[in-house]
Every structure is written in C-alpha cells, then in structure tokens.
Subunit: 186 residues, 2 copies
C-alpha cells in the first residue's frame, strides 16, 4: 500500500513537466552578445585614445597615449581577452538552449565567468582610479591634474570605462543566471 | 513489464546513496573563516598606516595617511564590508553542512559571493594601481614616486593588499565550490 502510493507520487512527478531553463538560456545568450560588443568597444576606444598638445619645444613633445600608463595597457589587454572569451562562450551558450540539463557546461561557464569577472573588474577599477587621479590630482602626493591639459585624451579614456563596467555587471548577472538554472534543474 | 522495470530502476536509484556535498560544504566553511581573517587584517593594516616625515616647516606638515587618497579609503571600507559579509555567511555555510540539498541557500551564496568578488576586486586593484604609481611614478604625467619619501607608509599599504587579494582568490574558489555542489546534487 505504502509502496503503491510512493509509486504513484513518482509517476505523477514524471508526468508534470519539469521547469524549463530555456528562458534563462536565451537571456544568457543575449547578455553574452551585448558583453562582447561592450568589451570590444572599450578595448578599441582606449587603444585609440591619443592626444598631442599643439605646442612643443625642440626637446620635448607633449603627447599622451594609452601605453604611457601601464594600467591602461592592462585595461586594453583584459578587454580584448574578455571579448575573445565571450566569442568563445557564445557557442556553449547556444548549446545550452538546445540541451535540457547541461550541468557540466553550466558549471564550466560559472567558473570561467567568475575568472573573467575578477580580471575585468580589476582592470576597470584600476583604470578608473588612475583616471580619477588624472582628473582631480592629489594634493598630498603633489600629483597634478593632467586632464586639464590632456582633455580629449581623458574624455575618450573615461568613455571607454562605460563598456567595461557594463560588461562587469553583465558577468555578475550571468553567474546568477547559471546558478539559478543549476538550482532549478530536477 | 515496461512499467515494472522502470519502477525497479527508480527503486535502485533511491537505494544507492546520493553523492554527498558534505566535503565541499566543510571546505566552504574553512575558506570563509580564512577570508574573514584576511579582510579584517587588510582593513586594519590600511587604516592604521600613517607616516610623518621627521622635518616640517612652520606652515607645512609632511605626513601621509590612508584618507589622503580616496581610493585607500574605499579599500578600507570595502574590506570592512567583506569582513562583515563573511561573518554573516558563516552561519549559512554551517547550515549547508547539516542539510542535504540546500539549493536555495547555495544560490543566494553564489549571488552574494559574486557581488563581494566584484567589490573586493575593484577595491584591491584600484589600490594596487595607485600604489604602483606611488612606488614608481609616471614620467609622462609628471607624477613623482612619493614612496621614496613615505617609505614606511607605502610598505604597510602594500602589505595590506595581500589579505585583500587572498580574499579575492578565496571568493572565486567559493563560487566554484557552490556551482559544483549545485551541479552534483541529485
């Protein structure tokens, strides 16, 4: 009697459709495509930022470009890396839409996403802190606000942060999406 | 006949013990305790770093402390926040050892862990980039290497980065652990 009712319960649970992760998987794909564009834009915007001042002496040329600052070079590198990673993860994400469970590939994506989250956050915030210094200087360290001279350079470099921080937010959402999909699976 | 064999398969899968997440949960707890100590140490080390130079004029006092740099103040704040978060998540982690499934609390931990990962990475890497500037200066922006004067200050501030980056690595491992535990559950 006991066994029969258990059996019935199992049967009915098999008949009721399992909660699908299809919506989450599609959201995942859309986010990855957006993040691909955002990091590509950031990388290009920072790499092309350059400014020459209209005056120069015989010995000195006043120009600024991204590779004067190691942090900015790191920023370009990490954004290019993130862009490549998103391009690589989009096929995985498309496969996840088709498959039901996909625990393994979701776990791999959580791992890779969190590594990229770490790298991208590091690059974006280090760049932001240097740009903050460049904009406002620091009195106690006697560092001047160089953005007063290199205005265009600073503007373009600051703009490139937008895409990068956008990608950071998207990566956090992606980790949450994968975690939810894994928890939902039955 | 078909039904009976299905029934048998279900029965046998119920008899075989499910793979346990107990080891992962204990690892999770240990990592959280270590990270609690690391972020507490970082926060205190940075907040107490201060140096006065042994010479001064009537109008100027030469001293450096963490709140001269907004980035360092942010670093102290975020590390204190992370420390509080770990203290709050340890009870949750202990509960996860006792319980079998714990999908919901694991998903919540993934979400909170990835938020803290973002914050802590941002703070640590922004601080690292400022400290790099302080150590080596920047020729094209004409920023001097102030660590030549404020040697002790820079040393203590750099030391406080260790705990913070340690906590970042631990947070990544924690996200991976939770993801694995969720994927394994049956």
């Amino acid at each position: 009697m006991m066994k029969a009712s258990q059996y019935e319960a199992i049967e009915s649970s098999k008949l009721s459709p399992p909660r699908s992760n299809r919506g989450l998987s599609i959201l995942d794909l859309i986010f990855r495509v957006i993040a691909l564009g955002a990091t590509l834009g950031s990388s290009v915007a920072m790499a092309t930022s350059e400014q020459q001042l209209p005056f120069f002496t015989r010995f000195l040329k006043f120009d600024a470009q991204y590779d004067d600052f190691p942090t900015f070079a790191f920023f370009v590198l990490v954004n290019a890396l993130a862009c490549g990673y998103f391009a690589f993860s989009i096929p995985l994400s498309i496969l996840n839409i088709a498959r039901k469970g996909a625990e393994r590939s979701r776990t791999i994506l959580i791992v890779l996403d969190s590594i990229m989250l770490g790298l991208l956050t590091a690059a974006a915030s280090a760049t932001a802190s240097i740009l903050y210094l460049a904009h406002s200087g620091n009195g106690s360290a006697n560092w001047l606000a160089v953005c007063q001279q290199f205005n265009d350079f600073c503007h373009q470099a600051s703009g490139s942060l937008i895409g990068s921080f956008g990608a950071v937010v998207i990566l956090m959402l992606l980790i949450i999406i994968q975690g939810t999909a894994l928890a939902r699976r039955h």
